[in-house]
């Protein structure tokens, strides 16, 4: 039983060394449904990009110099999108997708991909019949 409380003590450490990936997520997820559902809400300010976090979620390692270099560029992109926030949507019915002509569906007809050999040969580590990958912690 003591071991469970011990785990709580461990938490900050794990966060600090970055093993636990998603501690920041609590705020994030609660914002998501709002962002999706309230189409008419005009938010004036967009979040400042947190480049280290972005890098982490994209599984890219950046050094501090790269972070400094990328931050203003990403900021620029976000500001560019930010212009959309100025559009008045008060009287517009929300569209869930911005499309298109038709559903573009296909029938349920099996078709084997012919060039499987090439697909498999492009796998960095393949030991017939399996693709080999490193053991990974933290599924989510």
């Amino acid at each position: 039983m003591g071991s469970i409380s011990a785990l709580h003590y461990l938490k900050p450490t794990r966060t600090a060394n970055g093993t636990s990936l998603f501690n920041f997520s609590k705020n994030r997820i609660s914002q998501l449904p709002v962002a999706f559902r309230s189409y008419t809400v005009k938010s004036s300010v967009l979040e400042t990009p947190d480049v280290p976090r972005l890098a982490e979620t994209a599984r890219i390692s950046l050094n501090s110099q790269e972070i400094e270099e990328f931050a203003p560029k990403i900021r620029q992109v976000i500001d560019w999108f930010g212009q959309l926030q100025a559009v008045d949507l008060q009287s517009i019915e929300p569209a869930i997708r911005a499309d298109t002509e038709g559903d573009n569906l296909r029938g349920d007809v099996p078709e084997k991909f012919e060039n499987r050999e090439e697909l498999i040969s492009a796998v960095p580590s393949f030991e017939n019949p399996y693709i080999k990958v490193p053991k990974v912690l933290n599924k989510e």
Binding site: T57, R59, V109
Partner: protein
């Protein structure tokens, strides 16, 4: 760490009782959950062991359980039995050699674009309608980002804020063994998504703490321990995720909800619902609260439930674990986490603690258009729906069948179809039910075959029932014919003729026989007239003895029956003579 914790529980004698309280009932569960796998020796041992403690323990925990209420919600993943995957034309067959059914789309190669299988929408609409849901005529797919080698794209195509169906319910009849009763469980939502590949953890070797690089860069040089085998055949196979309201209160209710979902997908023909193959996967969320408290307790998720009975047992174990922690004033020990059901040990153990919700960074899938349903399309599917299990049960009930018959027959769509075809031909309802549930079910169980694999047709069962009813053959002969029909096929009429099994109902012929017997035995006839009625037997025997050849033809003669007829005929003859 989890093991230490549970060892602590085991040593606590009062903890043994709640598990046994539930374990006691599970012998019965196997009867009602007809698809449950066979009981293993381990379980049996476990239960016996626990039973001992049941007797020595006071009723204390019973009382504790009464003060608490469990709140259970279930997330079910139903694999759809489409011929191809959700977003590419790769065929999917369970058990194919690993990584043989793959293409650039399901392997997540750059530039490959998904195209939705129309059958997936059809299945989703069928299930949505069958679950009494409101359908979204406009829905869409979203990307759920997560990084794990079972989905090489780095995200799962799913539905987030606009599921294709929501706000329904499922009607369930609880097994009679648990007191029966009808329940209505709410369905929160049904959405479409893709399955992930299979990971096989091959060795117990050390793992690397190093996080895997982006999927395009997975390479041995990044990580020196290659410990997971990946099979991507299942990646991209269509799933429906069905989320229930937290409406269940017991393991039995939860297991029956899942069994009903399985029945539903089989009736609808959208999936095979096979739990062992993972075509139906249930994750259970469970919390416990003192009765009267409005807010929910901390919920725990249980995974690795691959049969209805393990589901029921896992839930009951988890309820007693959480109630016990309440009673020991250790509510803070109930933490939001995912626990695994261990079949061997019959308990749940910590798999991982949740440290805040995962950040899936959902956004609308840019590679797919929205999903639009027209009213006409929905109506056409509504009209094509088969009779659903609940409707079937209510209909059977109205036909006058007992609840036990109703639950048995409606449990399996194939058996229900067999029964329906038999009775549609005019066969007596109760007799048809009895034959199916009795001798036919016993045969299927012994020979491990399904009703579709036996040679008997519903038409011949109807014929058999009619032949017994009009006394062409006796019930006993009927049974013999039945087994012949089940194993070898053929027709009732053909078998009766071939084996000369017709009961002698031609009285003229019998009288002729009896005449001969009487003429041969004048002495005995005198005695019979004098009151020695036991001589009936003599005459009948005499008849059989003297004229065996001509009557006893065929191997499977129902001698008793002939005796009865002879005696009856003789009595009427003798009385007449008087």
């Amino acid at each position: 760490m989890a093991l230490t914790f549970l060892r602590g529980i085991q040593l606590n004698p009062s903890m043994l009782y709640p598990s046994s309280y539930f374990a006691r009932k599970h012998g019965v569960l196997y009867c009602c959950m007809r698809n449950a796998q066979t009981q293993t020796a381990t379980q049996e041992k476990e239960q016996t062991k626990l039973k001992v403690s049941t007797q020595s323990q006071p009723k204390a925990v019973d009382k504790f359980l009464k003060d608490f209420e469990a709140v259970i919600g279930i997330e079910t993943h139903v694999q759809l039995s489409t011929l191809t995957k959700a977003f590419c034309s790769c065929p999917y067959n369970y058990g194919s050699p690993p990584n043989t059914s793959v293409c650039p789309v399901c392997m997540g190669l750059p530039g490959a674009l998904p195209v939705l299988n129309s059958k997936v929408i059809e299945c989703a609409v069928r299930v949505g309608l069958a679950l009494n849901c409101k359908l979204s005529l406009n829905s869409k797919f979203d990307r759920k980002q997560y990084f794990y080698p079972d989905l090489p794209k780095g995200y799962q195509i799913s539905q987030f804020d606009v599921p294709i169906a929501s706000g329904g319910y499922l009607d369930v009849d609880l097994p009679l063994e648990y007191g029966g009763g009808h329940r209505k469980f709410g369905i929160t939502r049904v959405h479409m998504e893709e399955d992930a590949g299979k990971l096989l953890h091959t060795d117990g070797g050390s793992y690397s703490q190093e996080r895997a690089p982006s999927h395009l860069n997975i390479h041995a040089s990044h990580c020196n321990v290659m410990a997971i085998d990946v099979d991507l055949n299942r990646a991209g196979v269509p799933l429906l995720e069905i989320v229930s309201e937290p409406d269940m209160r017991t393991g039995i209710e939860a297991a029956e909800y899942a069994a009903e979902l399985q029945r539903l997908v089989r009736y609808l023909g959208v999936g095979n619902g096979n739990m062992q193959e993972g075509s139906l996967r249930c994750d259970v969320n469970i919390s416990v609260r003192p009765i009267g408290q409005l807010e929910f307790g901390t919920k725990v998720e249980i995974k690795n439930l691959n049969s209805f009975s393990s589901m029921s047992r896992a839930i009951d174990y988890e309820i007693s674990r959480q109630v016990e922690l309440h009673n020991q004033g250790q509510i803070d020990q109930i933490v939001q986490e995912t626990r695994l059901w261990e079949e061997g040990a019959q308990k749940t153990v910590t798999m991982r603690k949740k440290e805040g919700l995962a950040d899936y960074r959902y956004f609308p899938e840019p590679d797919l258009p929205g999903v639009t349903l027209t009213e006409e399309y929905v109506d056409s599917i509504r009209e094509s729906l088969p009779e659903l299990p609940e409707d079937k049960r209510r209909r059977y009930e109205k036909m006058g069948l007992s609840m036990q018959d109703v639950l048995f027959l409606a449990n399996d769509i194939n058996i229900a179809d067999f029964f329906d075809t038999t009775t549609a031909g005019g066969a007596d309802i109760k007799l048809a039910a009895n034959w199916i549930m009795g001798d036919i079910a016993a045969y299927m169980k012994n020979e491990k075959v399904t009703i579709n694999e036996i040679k008997l047709t519903p038409q011949e069962l109807g014929e058999l029932i009619a032949s017994i009813k009009d006394e062409t053959i006796s019930g006993k002969i009927g049974k013999e014919i039945l087994f012949e029909l089940i194993a070898k096929g053929g027709t009732v009429k053909g078998l009766i003729k071939e084996k000369d099994l017709v009961q002698i109902v031609d009285t003229a012929e019998i009288e002729k026989m009896v005449d001969k017997v009487i003429a041969d035995s004048p002495k005995q006839l005198e005695q019979y007239r004098g009151g020695k009625t036991k001589l009936q037997g003599y005459f009948a025997g005499q008849r059989l003895a003297t004229d065996e050849e001509s009557i006893l033809t065929g191997d499977n003669l129902d001698i008793t029956n002939k005796w009865k007829h002879l005696i009856r005929a003789f009595r009427s003859f003798a009385d007449h003579q008087n």
